[in-house]
């Protein structure tokens, strides 16, 4: 009998486990941290930020107690600066570039300062952006995630009317359904969506899926421009025996369920959990399983720590939460027969050509639940346009996010240069909006 049940931990433990991973800085903490910024010229942190936030400028404004100005500096480049402050892998972006690393091996806590500057504006709903003079142009956006909302907000600032077609019941995309709960507490994703929409001129149509309810060609006919900001809805499969067995689940589905659960204590969790994959989703499901009370969580990745999609910080977060990370092992078979009882793995090595190969050394890890987190892809046929240029299952775009079809732009996870980061999606949406604006005014 699989040991899967709810309420493995007390409510107090659950509440504490799903509280803020990085509590916000207090005012004294923020001022001390802001004082550490050297106000670099042509700052490396800004160069490292996919949205190009002028980081020294916003930190200086914290120092001078111009918090609203600081928030404006952040949000004018990245309207989701609040979420990015929580979920960006800053240790491989702005904070990795901080010159303090060279000086003392301890970067300025840019992410936490960004949260300090933006939280008051989002909490109070302070209006920092106004809709531009109406152009009478209408733009359709597919996808209500970071790329779509960023594009919508910028288009509204530029005076265009926007309709967002969003598959899910709630707006926000992966910010709402995909990110670990302890990174975005207190319904922050919805607060941010509300702030973005408060600019006006953006109509949200939730529950409308591309392919099923609406087509690209129809949108292209009905609107002056189209932006595709859809997510990767399908999960890659392991391609091994027993994959369809009960107890083998998609990590993203479980994470979404967890994010939507008002009471996380009632969420069933296995005693022994296996996670297969090495990206952020794998870490998120592993850590959250542990925090829900799983006794043993084994994260198995077929390559080494350097190849993992998850940052070093995320890997360490998993380990300090009691997740055992196994490198260089690939799944061979899900063991059952009716419900998963374990997974047979084989040790791997990289050959001279860089290809992965099994070495015949096998071992079994027991499991009540197996989570697959080896990547997602666009839903088959969701694009439905023969002429759309695709590469490895993703949409090809130019430097302005324009697709191969005139009048259609795309960004976020669905494009070739998408990298599974909120901050990159926001930048894509912003760039596309600027390009669409140029196009519509031409």
């Amino acid at each position: 009998m699989p040991d899967i049940r709810a309420n493995r931990l007390s409510r107090e433990d659950i509440d504490s486990n799903f509280g803020d991973l990085h509590p916000p800085l207090s005012r004294p903490e923020a001022l001390i941290e802001a004082d550490r910024c050297y106000f670099c010229y042509d700052a490396p942190c800004t160069t490292a930020c996919p949205t190009g936030i002028d980081i020294p400028a916003f930190i200086q404004k914290i120092r001078s107690n111009n918090i609203r100005g600081s928030a404006h500096t952040i949000l004018r480049e990245n309207i989701m600066g609040g979420m990015c402050a929580r979920v960006c892998p800053t240790e491989v972006l702005c904070e990795e570039a901080c010159v303090r690393n060279t000086h003392e091996d301890k970067p300025v806590e840019i992410g936490l300062l960004q949260r300090y500057a933006t939280d008051p504006v989002l909490t109070d709903g302070t209006k920092l952006f106004a809709r531009g003079e109406a152009t009478g142009k209408k733009v359709a956006i597919v996808g209500g995630g970071p790329a779509g909302l960023s594009c919508a907000h910028r288009l509204s600032m530029l005076g265009h009317d926007v309709v967002v077609f969003n598959r899910d019941a709630k707006t926000g995309g992966l910010n709402e359904y995909g990110i670990a709960a302890y990174k975005t507490v207190d319904d922050f994703a919805q607060k941010e969506v509300a702030y973005i929409l408060s600019i006006g001129g953006i109509e949200i149509r939730n529950g409308i899926a591309l392919g099923a309810d609406v087509s690209i060609s129809q949108l292209n006919d009905d609107f002056d421009a189209v932006f595709l900001g859809l997510g990767l809805a399908d999960v890659n499969s392991l391609g091994i025996d027993g994959e369809d067995m009960a107890g083998v689940e998609n990590a993203i589905d479980y994470i979404a369920e967890l994010r939507q659960a008002d009471d996380k204590a009632v969420l069933p969790v296995g005693r022994n959990v296996i996670v297969i994959g090495g990206g952020m989703t794998a870490i998120d499901v592993a850590v959250q399983s542990k925090r829900l009370g799983a006794e043993r969580v084994d994260l198995v990745y077929r390559r080494g720590p350097a190849e993992m999609g998850a940052s070093k910080f995320e890997q360490e977060l998993a380990q300090t939460n009691g997740v055992s990370i196994h490198h260089h092992a690939q799944p061979l078979q899900v063991q059952g027969p009716n419900h998963v009882t374990g997974v047979l793995f084989e040790k791997t090595v990289m050959d001279e050509k860089g290809d992965l190969c099994g070495i015949g050394d096998t071992f079994t890890i027991p499991a009540d639940i197996v989570f697959k987190a080896i990547g997602q892809r666009l839903k088959d046929d969701v694009i439905g346009e023969e002429s759309m240029q695709m590469q490895r299952g993703k949409i090809v775009v130019d430097e302005n996010q324009a697709t191969s079809i005139g009048g259609i732009w795309a960004g976020g996870d669905c494009v070739v240069n998408g990298d599974d980061l909120t901050v990159s999606a926001v930048q894509h949406g912003k760039l596309a909006a600027i390009a669409i604006d140029h196009h519509l005014r031409a």
Partner: protein, 433 residues
């Protein structure tokens, strides 16, 4: 181990660090704590006539901050002692009895008539105090009543009052000078001419700290109104050092013993004052910011420094840097330096580049071969030291002397002989060689 024992105007103290006349020396309780902590002496907070003055019962102090709220500059509007004269005299007598090895000097401030000075000076001397310090420096409050800086700003008044004090006193008399003047030399000279045994400087500088950003009124305020106060703390040290050095390097005043005051916070600040001509130093703000315990670093740091320099006493250090202070016109214009950036230490913040680019001589690169890289362009560098001043990494940028050869900036040979403005061809007033 260097001997820190100090003698100033014949007044002995175990070290050259005295607490300046100020709130920390207001009463016996504070002075006891200071002496227990190891301070060499104390200049008692200024005494005045009875009936004693009163102070405001609201904010007397405010500060300007550096990083992490480190106090850089400090301002006060406290007046002289607000206790009866007898109370102070009794306490001074007791303190001197309890601490015979420490210097106890009494600061005084009286109206401009000889009788008053003749009446009070002997009463103070009777306590056993080691000396008097004439407060001709406080810029706020008392100056409105014709005392403090109002006297110190008029050399003739200063000399007159000094003479009255000297007439009545048998113990050494120090004149405390105000920096709120155009030139420190006339009041210093007046003190000497009035018979002062020494001078102490600087007192505080006229100042308003800021406004209150909510009410747009002066900050701090007393019931909505504010008044200028006296500015002190680390930020004023350079002003004080200049005035000390001016007195020490000018022939007419160079023989006046100097007690240095102004922003001394650690032992290095004291070294500055000693080397530029002060024989001992007085401290207030640092104690008011950190407490009396700072005396440990002051004495220990100074002692270690003297040992490292092979000096056995502070006296060997006094005035050592004075010969290096001169007028601009005597600087060697043939001397050429260039900044050098140590690439091993550079953290690539780019601050040197942007300040040179924006505000100086465009003499530092921002990239080399497409890489972020900051190096000095000798063809443009005038050796101004701006990059050294702003670099956040200690020792990363230094100045290199070009002793000979061609200066890449001017394309001219660097002359080996010295030449200054007094003989420069562009100087219409030049002295013909």
């Amino acid at each position: 181990m260097a001997d820190l024992a100090s003698t100033f105007l014949g007044i002995q103290s175990p070290n050259p660090f005295w607490l300046a006349s100020a709130p920390p020396t207001d009463k016996a309780y504070n002075v006891n704590r200071a002496f227990e902590a190891g301070w060499g002496g104390a200049v008692w907070k200024t005494l005045g006539e009875d009936p004693h003055i009163v102070n405001v019962s609201g904010p007397r102090y405010s500060a300007i901050y550096g990083n992490d709220r480190r106090v850089i500059g400090f301002n006060n509007i406290e007046l002289i002692t607000d206790r009866p004269l007898k109370t102070n005299l009794d306490e001074i007598r007791q303190i001197k009895r309890d601490w015979p090895d420490r210097a106890v000097v009494v600061s005084v401030m009286f109206p401009m008539n000889k009788e008053t000075w003749a009446k009070y000076v002997p009463m103070i001397e009777d306590t056993g105090a080691d000396g008097l310090e004439l407060n001709f420096g406080c810029p706020h409050g008392m100056s409105e009543r014709g005392m403090g800086a109002a006297v110190g700003q008029v050399p003739e008044y200063l000399q007159m009052a000094t003479e009255w004090a000297k007439d009545a006193a048998n113990i050494p008399v120090i004149v405390k000078l105000t920096p709120n003047i155009a030139n420190i030399l006339p009041p210093a000279k007046a003190a000497k001419d009035g018979g002062a045994d020494g001078v102490s400087l600087i007192n505080t500088i006229n100042s308003i700290m800021r406004v209150n950003y909510d009410t747009l009124t002066m900050y701090p305020s007393t019931d909505g109104m504010g008044t200028h106060g006296g500015y002190c703390g680390e930020a004023v040290k350079p002003i004080a050092l200049n005035m000390v050095a001016e007195i020490a390097r000018t022939a007419e005043t160079s023989d006046i013993p100097i007690s240095g005051i102004g922003g001394i916070t650690d032992w290095r600040d004291a070294v500055d004052f000693f080397a530029l001509g002060a024989s001992n130093v007085q401290i207030c703000t640092a104690a008011m910011v950190y407490g009396f315990k700072i005396i440990d670093d002051l004495t220990d740091g100074l002692s270690t420094f003297l040992d490292d320099k092979g000096m056995t006493s502070v006296a060997e250090l006094v005035g050592r840097a004075v010969p290096s202070v001169t007028d601009w016109q005597h600087l060697n214009l043939n001397y050429v330096e260039k900044a050098v950036i140590d690439q091993e230490l550079c953290i690539k913040c780019g601050r040197c580049h942007v300040v040179c680019e924006d505000t100086s001589h465009q003499a530092i690169t921002q990239s080399v071969n497409g890489e972020r890289y900051f190096e000095v362009i000798d063809e443009e560098c005038v050796g101004c030291n701006l990059c050294v001043s702003v670099c956040p990494v200690d020792g990363c940028i230094s100045m290199r002397h070009l002793a000979d050869g061609v200066d890449p900036r001017t394309g001219q040979d660097i002359p080996t002989e010295k030449a200054n403005w007094t003989m420069h061809p562009n100087n219409p007033m030049r002295k013909q060689p």
